[in-house]
Amino acid sequence: MAAISIRALRKSYGDVPVLRGIDLEIRDGEFVVLVGPSGCGKSTLLRLIAGLEEITSGEIRIGERVINQLPAKDRDLAMVFQSYALYPHMTVRENMSFSLKLRRMPAAQIDAAVAGASAKLGLQSLMERRPRALSGGQKQRVAMGRALVRDPKAFLFDEPLSNLDARLREQMRYEIRRLQRDLGTTSIYVTHDQIEAMTMADRIVAMNDGLAQQIGAPAELYDNPSNLFVAGFIGSPAINFLDAVLLEGPGGALVMVGSERLGTVPWPQGLPADRRVTVGLRPERIVMGPASAGAPAQIDLLEPMGLGTVIHLNLAGQILKLFTTDRLQEHCRGIVGLCVQSADILLFDPRSGLRLRAA
């Protein structure tokens, strides 16, 4: 177990920059999730940490040691691949003991370690099978087992659940998290699925375009995104973005969507000269009432989800979604009034995408 520290890390393939300066401090025992759309550099970052690619510039430390030049085999990390990468000609037992054999561990110790790991994952009855005779979920477990047998400095996960069906994914999410909690091993987990990131992470690194857009606890990224990308990427159903203008009003700035007044907020810093902003509204933070009670919006469509309902609305020509757990009439239509708390109105600069915060 160890802390991992990444400073000014850059990686390019030829002239194409993939990582454009990443700084990240991962505490000992922390579960950090790298999340972002494909091509954002998250897998490359993981592979750099694993030692499978050479870094272009910057520094990676594990514990106190700089490991920039250290070959993968000497970094003492364990990795779970998206394709599982189980050795097809070896049984489950051989797959799991391979790393220990390479370390010339005595056979009795290997047996004990493999038995321990297989018990944790419920693999005992599969030990003599070969990977081809395993289901996807079982392969996933074996890949986990191969990482668990030795006591590595950190676990690296490269989209380990993306080949599983939804139900199994939910279960493995829980199991991985529980195992990590019990073992207390530093873990870095790469995914493009923001729900995995939200549910599993101690801290999330939201990545886009080779940069860490925001690093923080899941709730912080959700409630307090620092730019349009993070706000839009985290959360499902996704956040609403509306074009708005700020006007002088009593007690602050009036947020005007078209001709409709959405609410009053404190004047933000760094407001563009034309006072045009992008407003971010979480669908579940919008309250729907009678037409007279707030900004009037036309109901377009209902999407029942069981847990609640997503309501598609039209507010002054702009489309937005509202999420509510209230049971609604199926044929609910007409004009409703929308109310939003001042604190739930997130303002962004439409050009730079940066969050505009109150002075």
């Binding site: 499978l52 085999k73 000497d74 390479l102």
Partner: protein, 280 residues
């Protein structure tokens, strides 16, 4: 329902009939080889064309083994073909691994030049090769043949091996290295066992090629001490007659090692050739 089952039965019947026809077509010359080899000389021309002679003899085999230099040719062929297969496969495996796994300067050029070597007919270069080998004392020697065969087999064998290595996911090696293996250990314990079918296919391909090669064997080696069996077969053709019986008996004997070799590797081979086919 009933007619669907019948249609399916008919389909399979035609399927197997077509296969049987092809197999018969491919194997008939071999059958003829066997038939002539056991036909006594006096019946060969007198009986006309028959599928099986009225009485059989092993006299041709006895005389091939006892009274000709065929056992020597046979030994030479085994040495040359086996050594060529071994050397070519080793070199091709190393080259194929390199081409498959590493990016290096000039890779495209090397691949291109290797491809070009496969493009011109060998007859063109027999004379230059002879001129090159003669001063080195490599004509009239088995090593000379091995050298030439290996040189001409390595490019294609390398392409073949590369396609096998390409078929093995890179992640297996990466997983092995993260498990603590050096590149060599990953190669030895993970990649090599998975490439056995490819190695078998390549070795088989090179072995048969070398086994039946005539041009260089004839041109480079004039002494009968270092002749291989295809050259030996020509010795049954004399100025005035062809001893078909002995020639065919020698041919049947020459088939034995090739068959034995393929029997040995056939389990790997089917898998290997199809894997290569999909990838290559």
């Amino acid at each position: 329902m009933r007619s669907a089952a019948r249609a399916r039965g008919l389909y399979w019947l035609c399927h197997y009939a077509a296969l049987a026809l092809f197999v018969a077509f491919a194997l008939f010359p071999l059958f003829w080889l066997l038939k002539v080899s056991i036909t006594p000389n006096d019946l060969l021309y007198s009986e006309g064309v028959r599928l099986w002679p009225s009485h059989a003899t092993i006299a041709h085999y006895v005389s091939v083994i006892q009274h000709t230099q065929f056992p020597l040719y046979f030994r030479n062929s085994v040495i040359v073909s086996a050594t060529t297969a071994l050397l070519s496969t080793l070199i091709a495996a190393a080259a194929g691994y390199g081409f498959s796994r590493f990016r290096f300067r000039g890779k495209l050029w090397i691949l291109g030049v290797m491809l070009v070597t496969q493009m011109f007919p060998l007859v063109m270069i027999v004379a230059p090769i002879f001129r090159l080998l003669a001063p080195l004392g490599l004509t009239n020697s088995l090593s000379g043949l091995v050298l030439v065969y290996t040189a001409f087999n390595v490019p294609f064998a390398s392409f073949l091996m590369q396609s096998f290595f390409d078929g093995i996911p890179k992640e297996l090696e990466e997983a092995a290295m993260i498990d603590g293996a050096t590149r060599f250990q990953a190669l030895r314990w993970i990649i090599l066992p998975l490439t056995l079918p490819g190695l078998a296919a390549t070795a088989g391909f090179v072995f048969t090629g070398a086994w039946s090669e005539l041009l260089f064997a004839l041109m480079l080696n004039s002494s009968s001490q270092v002749s291989t069996f295809p050259v030996g077969l020509l010795s049954f053709v004399s100025k005035f007659s062809v001893d078909f019986g002995q020639m065919m008996a020698a041919g049947v004997l020459a088939l034995i090692p090739v068959c034995a070799f393929f029997l040995l590797i056939q389990r790997h081979l089917v898998q290997g050739l199809t894997a290569g086919a999909v990838k290559g």
